[in-house]
């Protein structure tokens, strides 16, 4: 067999995996690979900071469902990527990150730009590798893609010593990957499915509580079928938004700390909670002993460690969400005792109760004359994009308002850092999503604080023709922290006032983008219309009411029924 260089082998592996775009930033340790990239048809997107590369790969992955790929140099290049790797890890996003490493002979010598990135990222990757034998390079890359995208997905890092990449090696044919130590359970246990379905037939006040797993496994159709077949109301975690249509009458929107009143009340009063691809995060459950206290709990998840981790589960189903939901649907289709009409009739009082909660305390906010309410900006974005844009968010109040007021009807439309809550995620993720779907409108709902954490990526957006729209809800504060200080620290605003902020309109111009500003309510619509009409990169700066709060709010450690309301 003829031999090729490590660089050539890596490119061939990427092609084999169908990778057409990668995000990266060069340096000495990866210069060979960059040289080889020039001759390949893979598009390389040069970001302006390595955190941006991994977030962009992550946004690309979340929007498309494909594996996102990033390439970083050794040392500071690799460490700059860590926050974004941890972000992908917390949200189970399939990403493969290649990092350069010093030559094998120098490893452990504190060589120039040497860092133990495998050690550093061990707890925030699904798995990682240091390739120490050139003959294992190809197999390692194939395994990495397999691991990243199968089971519960996640980021995988491959550390590439420079001399390994420069070595000559053969390129064996690809065979199906079988790992004796890794065999995710995809198909549900039929006995458990039957138990779960029977519990559904018995329940009087059932609730579906769905998370990011539904989106990761592309199970939204199966989920909608189940919810409608049995008339079960659906509440979603931040990561689950879009897993069930936000405008469906059975949708109660988000639950948890900033969830809707109806969602939190319904979970608390339910007698059956069907958790699908969700992990009972503390932002969802609030005080644990008061979470769904009357409910029998079914939990579908591909990761056994998620089951009974925080909350005891009565009927666990370890499986891919799509497979498990499909099995439940067909059980009902086949079951003699199942009578769809009768079930709907039985659930009527429950649905009426839920509707009453919704009427009593809908998601809302107070108008204040001319002042721009941040929630209003999201409502107008929703209206003018027909609810069909890809929305990325930064972190903070902006993120929660986007989650509450944009109605996500499709999966993979909301890209947001849920688990880690990484400020600076939204802009690079938007660029990744836009490169995956050049014809879609992509909007980063931003805060004035977060946007400054990766604002340098505006240049990347320009260079690669990724005309995303950034909508800054500019409150002049690190608003979410300020809200906590207002409510729980006697309004002592320690380090949350942004005393100096750039002029975002001028800043847009400096990057060759369009800068637009709205300072009164009636300017909001025209600004958004103009932003959506241009083909260019746009920053919209909305001067919003400064001390607006996100409500409902469950104070940390309280029961989810103890909500502070508007």
């Amino acid at each position: 067999m003829s031999k090729i260089t490590g660089s050539q082998a890596i490119i061939k592996c990427l092609q084999e995996e169908g990778v057409d775009t990668i995000f990266g930033f060069p340096g000495g340790a990866v210069i060979d690979l960059y040289d080889e990239l020039l001759d390949s048809d893979i598009k390389h997107v040069l970001v302006r900071h390595e955190q941006g590369a991994v977030h962009a790969a992550d946004g690309y992955a979340r929007a498309s469902g494909k594996v996102g790929v990033a390439l970083l140099t050794s040392g500071p290049g690799a460490t700059n990527g860590v926050t974004a790797i941890a972000t992908a890890y917390m949200d189970s996003i399939p990403v493969v990150v290649f990092t350069g490493q010093v030559p094998r002979a120098l490893i452990g010598n504190d060589a120039f730009q040497e860092v133990d990135i495998v050690g550093i990222t061990r707890p925030c990757t699904k798995h990682n590798y240091l390739v120490s034998d050139p003959n294992e390079l190809v197999a390692t890359i194939r395994e990495a893609f397999y691991l990243a995208s199968s089971g519960r997905p996640g980021p995988v890092l491959i550390d590439l010593p420079k001399d390994v990449v420069a070595s000559m090696m053969s390129f064996p044919d690809k065979k199906p990957i079988k790992m004796k130590t890794y065999q995710p359970t995809v198909d549900p246990h039929p006995g458990q499915v039957e138990k779960a379905c029977k519990a559904c037939l018995k329940a009087k006040r059932p609730m579906l509580y769905i998370g990011g797993g539904v989106i990761l496994s592309n199970a939204n159709k199966e989920l909608t079928e189940l919810a409608e077949k049995l008339s079960i109301p659906v509440t979603m975690t931040l990561m689950g938004l879009g897993g069930f249509p936000g405008t469906n009458p059975l949708s109660l929107g988000m639950l948890g700390m900033h969830g809707s009143y109806a969602s939190n009340m319904a979970v608390a009063k339910s007698d059956l909670l069907i958790a699908v691809g969700a992990r009972f995060d503390d932002r969802v459950t609030g005080r644990l002993d008061a979470f769904a206290p009357h409910a029998e709990i079914i939990h579908i998840d591909i990761d056994p460690t998620s089951i009974s981790k925080n909350v005891d589960v009565d009927i666990p189903i370890v499986a891919d969400c799509k497979h498990a939901l499909r099995a439940m649907n067909s059980w009902f289709d086949d079951a003699k005792q199942f009578d769809g009409k009768a079930i709907k009739e039985k659930h009527k009082p429950w649905l009426e109760q839920v509707a009453q909660w919704n009427e009593k305390h809908p998601l809302t906010y107070h108008e204040e004359g001319d002042i721009i309410k941040p929630q209003y900006v999201i409502e107008v974005l929703n209206k003018l994009t027909g609810g069909d844009a890809i929305i990325t968010t930064e972190v903070g109040q902006n993120q929660m308002w986007a989650a509450q007021f944009y109605k996500f009807n499709e999966p993979r439309r909301l890209l947001t850092s849920g688990g880690l809550g990484t400020m600076g995620y939204g802009l690079p993720a938007a660029i990744g999503a836009k490169l995956a779907f050049p014809d879609k409108t992509v909007i980063d709902v931003a805060g004035d604080g977060s946007i400054q954490m990766n604002i340098q990526e505006l240049a990347t957006a320009r260079q690669y023709n990724a005309p995303v729209k950034v909508a800054i809800l500019n409150n002049g504060y690190l608003g979410m922290v300020r809200q906590w200080q207002e409510l729980f620290y006697n309004k002592r605003y320690s380090a949350t006032v942004m005393e100096v902020t750039p002029d975002f309109v001028e800043l847009a111009k400096a990057y060759g983008a369009v800068g637009l500003r709205a300072t009164t309510k009636d300017e909001v619509e025209p600004v958004i219309k103009e932003a959506l009409a241009t083909d260019n990169l746009v920053i919209m700066d909305f001067a919003v009411s400064r001390e607006e709060g996100v409500f409902p709010m469950v104070p940390a450690g309280k029961a989810t029924t103890e909500m502070l309301l508007v």
């Binding site: 495998v118 050690g119 061990r122 707890p123 699904k126 798995h127 240091l130 120490s132 691991l147 790992m179 004796k180 130590t181 890794y182 990761d303 056994p304 460690t305 009974s308 981790k309 005891d312």
Partner: protein
């Protein structure tokens, strides 16, 4: 409750730190940990002693299993098992106590593995309770150093 877990894992660089990192990162406790190659040189066996209620031990077992380098996790405390630990004890052995130390060691079927004018270093193997008993008895004589291996354990083979 004390649990002894037997973990088979790939004999690869970093595999051990994945396990220890899991315990420190998630706040699980490790009482002792012993690891070495098995018959198959590509596979290591680790005996890990931990403490926790059933829910915690279940979570530990699942989390270990989730590590890509881990092949198999068995909670051997769930069935019949044998466990052993070895300890090296350097104990004062002066003219007036030498004979007594030897007698004690003999009772516990230990061996003297090193001698100095004022000390014996003795080797004892057994279950944790036995090790504890030896230490308790030798302590009044004057123990200078104790080195323990930590427990290794295996499930008993089926008898039919």
């Amino acid at each position: 409750m004390k649990h002894t877990l037997s973990v088979l894992l790939q004999n690869k660089p970093g595999a051990l730190s994945r396990v220890t990192g899991l315990f420190s990162g998630r706040g699980f406790n490790i009482e002792s940990l012993c690891v070495a190659e098995t018959l198959d040189s590509k596979v290591s066996c680790m005996t890990l002693v931990t403490r926790g209620d059933d829910a915690i031990v279940e979570q530990i077992t699942k989390q270990l299993h989730k590590l890509i380098d881990v092949i198999k996790v068995t909670d051997i405390t769930e069935g019949e098992f044998v466990e052993r630990e070895m300890v090296l004890i350097r104990v004062k052995a002066e003219a007036n106590t030498r004979a007594e130390v030897l007698r004690i060691i003999d009772i516990f079927r230990g061996k003297v593995v090193d001698v100095s004018p004022t000390t014996y270093t003795v080797e004892i193997t057994g279950q944790e309770t036995k090790i504890k008993a030896v230490i308790d008895i030798l302590r009044p004589i004057g123990i200078k150093e104790i080195i323990r291996t930590g427990t290794i354990a295996t499930a008993r083979a089926p008898k039919n």
